[in-house]
Subunit: 255 residues, 2 copies
Amino acid sequence: MGQVISVTNQKGGVGKTTTSVNLAASLVATKRKVLMIDLDPQGNATMGSGVNKHELEASIYDVLMDRMPVAEALIHTEPGYDLIGANADLTAAEVELLDGDQKEQRLKSALAGVRSQYDYVLIDCPPSLNMLTVNALVASDSVIIPMQCEYYALEGLSALLNTIEKIQSVLNPNLEIDGLLRTMYDPRIALANQVSSQLTEHFGDKVYRTIIPRNVRLAEAPSHGLPVLEYDRRSRGAVSYLALAGELIRRAEQK
Amino acid sequence: MGQVISVTNQKGGVGKTTTSVNLAASLVATKRKVLMIDLDPQGNATMGSGVNKHELEASIYDVLMDRMPVAEALIHTEPGYDLIGANADLTAAEVELLDGDQKEQRLKSALAGVRSQYDYVLIDCPPSLNMLTVNALVASDSVIIPMQCEYYALEGLSALLNTIEKIQSVLNPNLEIDGLLRTMYDPRIALANQVSSQLTEHFGDKVYRTIIPRNVRLAEAPSHGLPVLEYDRRSRGAVSYLALAGELIRRAEQK
Ligand SMILES: Nc1ncnc2c1ncn2[C@@H]1O[C@H](COP(=O)(O)OP(=O)(O)OP(=O)(O)O)[C@@H](O)[C@H]1O
Ligand SMILES: Nc1ncnc2c1ncn2[C@@H]1O[C@H](COP(=O)(O)OP(=O)(O)OP(=O)(O)O)[C@@H](O)[C@H]1O
Ligand SMILES: [Mg+2]
Ligand SMILES: [Mg+2]
């Protein structure tokens, strides 16, 4: 059915990559076929999946610039999802994508031929509202917004929602917000509880019931090139991302 | 003496803004004259200084695009440092700065007329190695690199150091790394201790002795538009940034 989902938030360090990698692995654990696109020049999702970004024969940059067909850029990862990797070359794309017609559609066209082979395509976005994120939003059916429950992240939400609305009004009327995901949550912290209440007050059912707790296993796993499910399946981090996968599937497959 | 310092790291959420705001306030507390430049379209440093980014009459964007002289964009903040604010307009600068000659020098030229009025000019950079960060590095005497002691931040360090070297080799031979700053540090976490040892092993005295601990006061302060020194001067967060100011001054003024 090829549901394409962007994992996006221009605020840095809110858990986009951690969510992309661990949601992909959790969906695979439920027997779904998953493709993950690393759309960040930092290449974190690539490294976190056990793939060396310095040794990519073909990256998402090559695909976006039409130098490589998508099929040849696909890597089958250890955890079981397919990946199109990213590295520093992608910084050039932020510039090169500004010219040319259909510049917001490049990722959508690239995915057109392969998305039906998967149940879910997840796109890990960079911390920016630049042309890469625009391409992701135009290519997507829906968006997951990881939210660190602190002031700067909350304050930045309106700029992100603005961008989503602009894309909905012209380039992609079908784009929806699948949900807001509270990440790195520490319930002992008053600020986190306050921001969480503001989110649920404002966004109601759009806020996932699943909360990702602060759990050091989630920060350790990428240093082994593994999703937390492979690294420590009993950790609170692993259990929560499995729960998120379940919640996502119920939302997606109940429509 | 106008020492210009970029606070930079393309990894998101490592404490660039928190460091910029609290170091500025701490330097003011030692009677130094300080200017802070918010160079991030997110405008976090602006909001964290008690200035409403939605009501800026002139922003760093106007200055970079030569629409406003620097002197007219200066705002004197409550905590006592001057500020040139940023808002979403700056996203346009990421594109517009790609044309035109001297495109890497725009910030440097803009600051030329004012830097001598200050002891320190701090530049809060966005989570990207784009043209905004390049402008900051070209305009700077030195760089502070906030480092979250976790895998993805450590892994991203080489890309940042590469960029700094490129700038040193051509556009700004005088650029130095003032230091690497361990931020959000939780000494109970094995991973943090491991990454910290790797940093000190590799970078020796370049790593500041001062470590910024994880302290919720640092996350709460911006929601009141205050540096932590104004919000809770006795907190571990406030004390550590004052210590960092002292360490920075000793390094700068001992040359
Ligand atoms: N729930 C969690 N508990 C503990 N650590 C976490 C958790 N989620 C993420 N982390 C760690 O926090 C840091 C930031 O997370 P991550 O890199 O996934 O965020 P991001 O939004 O992708 O950042 P960027 O904006 O740079 O792309 C990483 O070191 C990651 O390992
Ligand atoms: N030492 C600390 N203890 C607790 N929270 C902190 C600390 N330093 C920063 N924070 C909080 O962590 C989050 C990320 O910090 P900050 O926004 O300063 O990072 P950044 O590198 O500027 O992010 P970006 O890449 O988005 O610009 C913020 O919510 C901030 O308030
Ligand atoms: Mg990321
Ligand atoms: Mg910042």
